[in-house]
């Protein structure tokens, strides 16, 4: 197998995650649908991450079409699950798979 992570660390600190802001998939990231959700690969950092739900993959793909992360969650994620999705997106922002527009 291989090591996609840690191959190149992102440069510098990331901005704090702000769910009231508009985010989008980083232009260097490709998503590949898989039975469990999707694989996301960052061509810049060479990092790979598993998006482990089809809905999460969909939310990530469509982030840009919503005015904010919270709006994106409200549009498609059941209320009870939104905090978990918000945390998942915060982690993706931290590793630069998604970024503020």
């Amino acid at each position: 197998m291989d090591e996609a992570i840690a191959a190149r660390s992102p440069n510098g600190p990331t901005a704090p995650f702000d769910p009231t802001a508009r985010y989008r998939l980083d232009p260097d990231v490709a998503l590949r649908p898989e039975p469990f959700g999707a694989l996301a690969y960052h061509y810049g950092s060479r990092r790979l991450t598993f998006l482990r739900s089809a809905l999460l993959a969909e939310v990530v793909r469509d982030l840009e079409s919503h005015d904010s992360v919270d709006a994106a969650l409200t549009a498609s994620v059941p209320e009870a699950e939104r905090p978990a999705y918000r945390r998942a997106l915060a982690s993706l922002a931290d590793s630069r798979f998604i970024r503020a527009c």
Partner: protein, 386 residues
């Protein structure tokens, strides 16, 4: 693979179980593009030496890249043989990158001149991995051949001078270099490079050198603790059998053969992983109707490997969840049953079984493409070597 997993906390099967059932395309694909090599390392997984007249030509190789792009394989690990001796090597690298398939290639460094290093430094999405198997010339050259340490170091110098960035230094851990881990780390740090350690397999010419070269149990324990303290050291997830010693090592702790990884060999044959170049693990060929995608998705072998496997003789061991029974290739080429312990099982279960494998009973990797000239081996007792 030390990849992260992003899951909202929802009831979902374990990622390991999902991966065992296979993916729509490999996460990581190794592509050996030539059997030709100017070295004759005594542990070469593919018994490389001579080029094979049946090797994929440039057009066929580009068609493979097109297929990988269609399958959204994000990057490919190119090796050999020494891949850079193919005259069309950089043409294929450029083609692959231009199609969105990133390239990481492994080389012994002999063609990485100052000029080539500068050109590589200017390319995105190309990672370079230089192999050495000793932290000094004596240790390295005993495995890789006279002068190979100096050649590799020269290539590293060129890459560093060219400002390539963090290239990788790739080391197969052996009995002879297991005591040099700190020295390898210092070497990598000195270059701003990344250290990558991988496991010695009894595959290819390694079948003949494994018994003498594989790390001792004591060395394995030391290696495990060394790696636990250094999550930044890359391993290709090859030491997951060591996870039975305690906390799991970072990465995917499972055998990915035919499930998340596979190998395309120089003539286009597809094998379950880079360590099982043997007819029993050949799933098909990219030259068959339907190409690589059909082999990946429909070959009998790969479908079989994705079925839930029995823990066999390991079922009663409390560590099976951690080590998953270890490496299929290591078991196969040492003559152990595939549903039992790894020959290097840290609980010693494999060692006990190895003693009972009759001489000559282990499957032979065959002569491969070895050049008739064999390297001098290390002076000293031959040990358990066949």
């Amino acid at each position: 693979m030390p990849a992260s997993s992003t899951a909202p906390r929802l009831p979902a099967p374990r990622l390991t179980d999902q991966l065992k059932a296979g993916l729509d395309a490999p996460i990581c694909l190794t592509w050996e593009i030539t059997y030709g090599c100017n070295l004759a390392c005594i542990h070469c997984l593919s018994s490389s030496g001579r080029r094979d007249p049946r090797e994929l030509n440039t057009a066929e190789a580009k068609a493979v890249v097109d297929e990988l792009r269609d399958l959204q394989v994000f990057y490919v690990n190119i090796g050999g043989g020494e891949p850079t001796i193919r005259p069309d090597f950089y043409d294929l690298v450029d083609y692959s990158v231009s199609r969105g398939v990133g390239v990481k290639f492994s080389t012994n460094g002999s063609t990485i001149t100052a000029d080539r290093a500068k050109r590589l430094a200017g390319s995105d999405y190309v990672d370079v991995q230089i192999s050495i198997d000793g932290a000094d010339a004596v240790t390295n050259d005993a495995v890789r051949g006279a002068g190979s340490y100096a050649t590799a170091r020269r290539a590293m110098d060129h890459l560093a001078e060219a400002g390539f960035g963090p290239f990788k230094i790739s080391v197969v851990v052996t009995r002879d270099n297991a005591g040099q881990l700190d020295a390898f780390e210092a070497l990598a740090n000195g270059y701003g490079a990344q250290l990558r350690l991988t496991r010695l397999r009894p595959s290819g010419r390694g079948a003949d050198s494994w018994a003498r070269l594989h790390p001792t149990q004591q060395q394995q324990v030391a290696l495990y603790h060394w790696l636990i303290e250094r999550p930044g050291v890359l391993t290709g997830d090859s030491f997951f059998h060591l996870s039975a010693l305690g906390e799991a090592l970072p990465g995917l702790n499972l055998c990915g053969a035919g499930r998340v990884v596979c190998l395309i060999d120089p003539i286009g044959d597809v094998y379950a992983c880079p360590f099982v170049l043997h007819p029993e693990f050949r799933a098909g060929s990219v030259r068959d109707a339907g190409g690589f995608a059909r082999v990946w998705r429909q070959s009998d072998l790969f479908l079989e490997l994705r079925r839930p496997a029995s823990a066999g003789a390991c079922a009663s061991c409390g560590s099976y969840d951690a080590c998953q029974g270890g490496c299929m290739a290591a078991k196969f080429f040492t003559g152990l049953p595939l549903d039992g312990p790894d020959p290097e099982c840290v609980k010693g279960h494999g060692e006990a079984l190895l003693g009972r494998v009759a001489a000559g009973a282990a499957p032979s990797p065959g002569p491969g493409h070895s050049v008739p000239v064999r390297l001098r081996t290390r002076p000293g007792p031959v040990g358990a070597s066949k």
